[in-house]
């Protein structure tokens, strides 16, 4: 007899995790991040990499997993599926890096040189490069957006807080928070356009 309850529990915990990841639940993201780092670090360190490489590769892989879960490209089947998926992506990224020209060039100059791994994830070979460029310019602009706007937009779009809660936190009324959010989006859009 299969343990039905166990299967149900496992499934529901996976659904919960996926939902939490889609909602950017910081507690869940942090636990996932911290639980899997050391394995990837060990892999990179034992394969000609440094601590800095390990961090870069791992963060890249983590973002790829987050994106794929968000876009329903990956649905974990059991409890350890996300961990395994994350490790596999990190491993593939590291192999790609070791095979890359950049690595071979780095070998000659210095082991310590920092690098940026391309943002293309394994199932994301889009033929639409302009889309990536746009996203990149939005991200850069958001990085340098003024703090008040950045805080407001982060709370709303990343932390998924309600407009009412944000208004309370910022000691504003709901209507002006809503307007402020719109103005911040205009500002961000303008910055991103100029960057292009």
């Amino acid at each position: 007899m299969p343990k039905v309850t166990a299967i149900i529990d496992q499934e529901s915990s996976q659904i919960q995790i996926v939902r939490a990841i889609k909602n950017n639940d910081l507690k869940v993201l942090k636990a996932l991040y911290q639980a899997n780092y050391h394995k990837v670090k060990a892999l990179v360190l034992s394969n000609n990499g440094s601590i800095a490489h390990a961090k870069d590769i791992y963060q890249d892989a983590f973002i790829a997993v987050w994106k794929n879960i968000k876009n329903d490209k990956f649905t974990p089947k059991n409890d350890t599926a996300i961990d395994g998926y994350l490790y596999t992506i990190a491993k593939n990224k590291w192999m790609d890096y070791l095979r890359s020209k950049r690595y071979k060039k780095t070998l000659v100059t210095s082991y310590e040189t920092h690098f940026n791994i391309s943002d293309i994830t394994i199932d994301e070979f889009s033929d639409d490069n302009t889309n990536d460029e746009r996203l990149h310019s939005v991200m850069q602009s958001f990085k340098h957006l003024g703090l008040p706007c950045k805080t407001l937009l982060t709370k709303f779009y990343f932390e998924k807080k309600s407009m009412r809660d944000i208004a309370k936190e910022l000691k504003l009324d709901a209507a002006s928070t809503r307007n402020k959010k719109y103005r911040c989006m205009q500002k961000l859009r303008k910055l991103a356009l100029n960057l292009k």
């Binding site: 950017n24 993201l29 911290q34 601590i51 961090k55 973002i63 994106k67 991200m139 989006m185 859009r189």
Partner: protein, 243 residues
């Protein structure tokens, strides 16, 4: 992103509602129909989605760095409170008394015997439950104090990879290796502490380095290092070696 079109609040909020599934069915139906027929509208919506994804991805990136810093929490010299150092000194003094008290038990004067007579691992730092910022370090300290040197070494080594120049870490790794009978590794770590211009552990590090060289059979270097330490035990060991 197209220069010509303006971002309107209405469209922004409509896209938001459609994405987080709070739009009503009629609204959603209209939206999807328009996406299929109106290419300009489709482009505008794509632009808004790019803005929203960009905000999320950049926010996540910044959060990851915060998560990572927590993994990185260091065991810096500064984090050792003054009071702790005081307790440590008393503990070292107590051990010296015990070591000196047992002095006459030993008659031979071989390096091994001298080492066995003088070597007692550093009592370690008090472990406090509240010190969560240095959890990994103190977690290993518990193993160290229990005499599980291999476990402590393994854990500290992981930390040391991230903080190769931390003197507290290098000092305790050195002493742990010495207790674990790996004097060569001990010499490496302890030397790195003694070469620092300033460290709270410098005095003790010279003493243990002297012991490590003694264990390794290098009496000259042992004497040289013991000479730099002002610990009483160091002086008495030195005088025995000179006898």
């Amino acid at each position: 992103m197209s220069q010509n079109t303006e971002l309107t609040q209405e469209l922004l909020e409509l896209v938001e509602r459609c994405l987080n599934k709070t739009a009503n069915t009629e609204e959603l139906k209209d939206f999807e129909a328009k996406l299929k027929t109106d290419l300009a509208f489709k482009a505008q919506v794509a632009d808004i989605k790019t803005l929203l994804f960009g905000i999320e991805e950049q926010s996540l990136k910044e959060s990851l760095n915060v998560f990572h810093e927590e993994l990185d929490h260091e065991t810096s010299n500064k984090s050792v409170p003054v009071k702790t150092m005081y307790i440590k000194k008393i503990a070292v003094a107590a051990i010296l008394v015990i070591a000196l008290g047992s002095f006459w038990f030993f008659s031979g004067n071989t390096n091994e015997k001298l080492f066995a007579k003088y070597f007692l691992p550093d009592p370690g730092l008090p472990t406090m439950m509240s010190k969560t910022s240095n959890f990994e370090f103190y977690d290993a300290m518990v193993n160290y104090k229990l005499g599980d040197y291999s476990i402590a070494i393994k854990k500290w080594n992981e930390l040391q990879e991230r903080k190769p120049n931390n003197d507290t870490l290098n000092y305790f790794l050195g002493v742990a290796y010495l207790a674990y009978k790996d004097e060569n590794a001990a010499i490496t770590y302890l030397s790195s502490v003694t070469t620092l211009s300033q460290s709270t552990f410098k005095n003790e590090a010279y003493y243990y380095l002297g012991l490590a060289y003694l264990k390794a059979g290098n009496v000259e270097l042992s004497k040289k290092n013991l000479n730099f330490s002002t610990i009483d035990n160091s002086k008495s060991l030195l005088s025995e070696l000179n006898d």
